[in-house]
């Protein structure tokens, strides 16, 4: 796999860090471009929108559960949201270990 990636120029000969993609700062639509293919930037936007809509549904469920529950402390939505974001976007994080 590493050999194939080297042939494609995706990793250095030492197998070190990825080489910068030859992306211009701005794409053909004039918006910032961060990935080699500007379509990838659009997918990022769609992914974030989707996550937002999933969270809106999650809040609906939390509200319904709170309504049907006779007792118990109110849900800390900011805390639940933090866990949700950390779970969904974990692949974006760097392994700092």
């Amino acid at each position: 796999m590493l050999v194939r990636l080297r042939k494609l120029g995706a990793v250095s000969e030492e197998g070190g860090p990825l080489r910068p993609e030859p992306a211009p700062i701005y794409g053909p639509d004039g918006r910032p471009q961060f990935f080699g293919d500007p379509a990838t930037d659009r997918f990022v936007a769609s992914l974030l929108n989707l996550a937002s809509e999933v969270w809106a549904q999650e809040e609906r469920i939390l509200a319904l559960e709170a309504r049907s529950s006779a007792s118990g402390p109110p849900t800390d939505r900011d805390a639940v949201l933090k866990q949700f974001i950390e779970r969904v976007f974990a692949p974006l994080r760097e392994d700092q270990g």
Partner: protein, 395 residues
Amino acid sequence: MTVELLHDMKPEIAPDEAARQRFVSGLRSFVLNDLAADMRHAYESRVLPAFRKETGRDPVDGIEVHRALRGDPAFKAYSATRVHAQRMVWNSVAPVALRDRDKRRRAAEAVAAQPGSLSLDSALEMPSNVTAIDVHLMPGSYVGREQAEDTGAIYDQGLAVFSMGLMGRNLDDIGLSMSAYIKARYPDFAPACILDLGCTIGHNTLPWKQRYPDAEVHAIDVAAPGLAYGSARAKMQGQAVHFHQMSAETLGFPDASFDLVFSSMFLHEMPRKTIARVFEEARRVLKPGGLMLHMELPPNTQMGAFEGFYLDWDCYYNAEPFYKAFRDEEPSELCTRAGFAPDDYIQFVVPSVGAYGEQAVADMVASEGSRAVDSQTTGRLAEGVCWFGFGSWAR
């Protein structure tokens, strides 16, 4: 966390809308704290060593850091997420502001007779740095387009989502922190007449009226929508402020008419030639013994290369094209070029009142200490933010 605005202009929002706004605030917090920390780690652990290996030295400035980092996955994750999160800020509030328009009109009419005033100038020529760019990726910038009437509300509500609670429920943390510092550091300074330049909706104007209740407070901006909204917003809070549609380059006030000329997050949005004229006008309208004070982003000359890159990111990706050129300036030289004496220059880093409390400001002043500009918290809208201020006394 997102915040519910304190004043009566706050909108009525549906649960789904509140959930989307909460999500955007949470996402921004994740980007500006977690992904930002990852990007710094990536820089120190692989980008900087690779740069040193290639060049035999460290990057000299933010431009070199930017070039070196741009292909790194951590930069891409941070940047691509942050750019779209910024668009989501405005997308999450614009429909609310549109739907709430009639209620807002009624609320403004109800307080129209309260102390304070609004003077609009329809003949004022609008500068292109306001009209030609969607500043902060905000559709229509400060003047709006299809939703011009809603622009003040969009800005107010958007800033509440954007700031993740770090600017308080009245979005006035900068004004509160800066005025707390001035009051504590210069207890004998009692401005009778105060001017806020580029005030938008006056959210950082009001703290000055609260800190110096006897002062006559004026606030100007070129964009009418924010002024109209800000005037009603101030009246609803019982704050008598006089809002004027006016350019800071050509102030319609007599010479020596103000004790304090203030601005917040204003200078980095204009070309350097304009900044020079703004400083000259500020000096003209200041009384002898008066103070020109700007809350701004800290200068590159006083920060490390990575910190410089980190703050200049907005210049490239957040539709703020004058940002870096301003931050490349030496603030003291901006003042002296406008005729202020070098010995009259001041600068400081003040802890956010919202994050640290007013006592922290008083303690800092009492110990005659000051936080370093080259800090990971100065000017960063993230946990533990501190604000940079500079300016000059007039003779």
